[in-house]
């Protein structure tokens, strides 16, 4: 799970020409630690929706990597 999420986050970063992440931890914040803006978050939701068929922002804002993983695990 962690690796598949990491791959999608890195896909977003690579499209912007930014340095890829080596690993994820649950407490990492998508905005502050990963450096995502709203366009990046939107792109991530589209990528995750294609794989897991779940919209991580459907019920409001998700802040951390751990929150995303919890939502994805429910739908795996």
């Amino acid at each position: 799970m962690e690796n598949r999420l990491l791959a999608q986050i890195n896909e977003v970063l690579s499209g912007k020409g930014e340095t890829l992440l080596q690993r994820l931890s649950p407490e990492m914040k998508l905005r502050d630690d990963v450096g995502f803006d709203s366009f990046d978050l939107a792109e991530l939701t589209v990528r995750l929706e294609e794989i897991y068929d779940v919209d991580i922002f459907e019920n409001g804002i998700v802040n951390t990597v751990g929150e995303v993983m919890t939502l994805l695990e429910k739908n795996e």
């Binding site: 977003v12 589209v46 922002f57 459907e58």
Partner: protein, 409 residues
């Protein structure tokens, strides 16, 4: 006046109105095509020009050299001119100079075919909606729009003419925006639905906010309920505005009304909204049908007798991504310029964060190789970042509609 004109925490800027008057009135230089991502510098330069009747072209800070060349026909170079000082500039003379300014302000807006088109506004047309009243004294505005776009200019002038404080939150993240609103007791906010969606859920309520305006995209009723929990004391209004005309109609909730006053300038025919020539800026690209401009925005009557209606979709082909209107033709043209690309289709996929995410299907020539990242990084040289598709699919064939147009649905 020692109250603040502009606060930008991101670059540690705090300007009082006294400092603003000083900066605007002193001799020095003015740039008629200034390009900067610092809103305070942008506004000071703009005002220097307007009080001296200089024409000005507003360019987004992130326009690429290629975009500017295609729009203006020349390579970008700052056009600097010397300006003389203005003596004894005070509150009253400052406002008078602005109100009587003969400057022409050129704005670029996403066109319906190809590149952004130029629309020229006079200062008087931009400030016609501004209300000056002592009841607005002491208000402060969260500034959430791009300053080079019409919505940003209208917020700017509304605040300026009442000597209100402008707190810059444009492009800020959730925590920054909430903290700035709280720290500076912001009373007014005008922004897109996307902006408000990102504030929800909020860790705290923002009691100081009295008036909240939503515009620029189609909004949904559930958004108002969510906004009310973040801004419990605020009146929430919805506005319909366009780059061509500025703000035209306002509504409580989703239902707009063409009342007797508006009937002279707004009408609906065959479910399409028209705006009268008399309230538009000037552009070579406008075409009129008996003095009426076809906005391309499709509406649905709520009650035709009362003149009430809701929006079905805004401006036919344009894709609204977080309040930015993107013309798919422009993006397709840029992608099609690469030799590896045989055909391309650009469209939006519905998304809970931005409304839409810009997506491209690309059909490559046989034996050509191109990755998603390659395309995005190449496009950075050609297009503003919001126009770059976030999801790129390589497909075997692109679908065409029966009329031979690329199918975007």
């Amino acid at each position: 006046m020692n109250n603040y004109f502009f606060i930008a925490a991101k670059n540690n800027t705090r300007l009082t109105y006294d400092v603003l008057f000083q900066a605007v009135s002193s001799a020095g230089s003015f740039v008629s095509n200034y390009k900067t991502d610092q809103a305070d510098l942008f506004f000071v330069n703009l005002l220097k020009g307007l009080v001296r009747d200089k024409d000005i072209v507003l360019l987004d800070a992130d326009f690429t050299d290629q975009e500017i060349f295609q729009m203006t026909g020349e390579n970008y170079a700052e056009k600097v001119e010397n300006i003389d000082s203005i003596s004894d500039l005070n509150e009253q003379s400052f406002l008078e100079l602005l109100q009587n300014s003969k400057s022409k302000i050129s704005i670029y807006t996403s066109g319906t075919t190809g590149l952004p088109k130029q629309v020229v506004h006079s200062v008087s047309s931009l400030i016609k909606q501004v209300k000056i009243d002592s009841k607005f004294n002491g208000n402060s505005w969260a500034f959430a729009y791009n300053p080079t776009h019409i919505a940003g200019l209208q917020v700017f002038f509304q605040a300026l003419f009442n000597f209100n404080t402008i707190v810059n939150v444009f492009n800020g993240d959730k925590r920054f925006v909430l903290e700035e609103i709280q720290n500076h007791s912001v009373t007014n906010i005008s922004a897109t639905p996307t902006f408000y969606r990102l504030l929800y859920p909020s860790e705290f309520q923002l009691d100081s906010v009295k008036r909240v305006t939503v515009g620029g995209e189609k909004s949904t009723p559930d958004l108002y309920e969510k906004m009310q929990t973040v801004f419990p004391n605020a009146v929430i209004r919805n506005v319909y505005a366009s780059t061509e005309a500025g703000s035209v109609l306002s509504a409580k909730g989703n239902v707009f009304q063409i009342d007797e006053k508006k009937a002279a300038v707004v009408k609906i025919e065959n479910d399409i909204l028209y705006i009268h020539q008399s309230v538009l800026g000037n552009s070579d690209s406008f075409s009129f049908e008996n003095n009426w401009y076809n906005t391309g925005d499709i509406v649905l009557w709520d009650d035709e007798q009362k003149g009430t209606f809701t929006f079905v979709s805004r401006a036919n082909e344009m894709i609204n991504v977080g309040g930015y209107k993107i013309n798919p033709n422009e993006v397709e043209e840029a992608i099609r310029s690469y030799p590896e690309v045989r055909q391309v289709r650009v469209y939006g996929i519905p998304n809970s964060v931005l409304g839409n995410v810009l997506t491209a299907d690309i059909e490559l020539h046989a034996d050509s190789v191109l990755s998603e990242t390659d395309v995005k990084l190449k496009l950075k040289e050609k297009l503003q970042s919001f126009k770059i598709p976030r999801k790129i699919n390589f497909v075997a064939t692109i679908n065409y509609s029966r009329t031979g147009k690329i199918s975007r649905s």
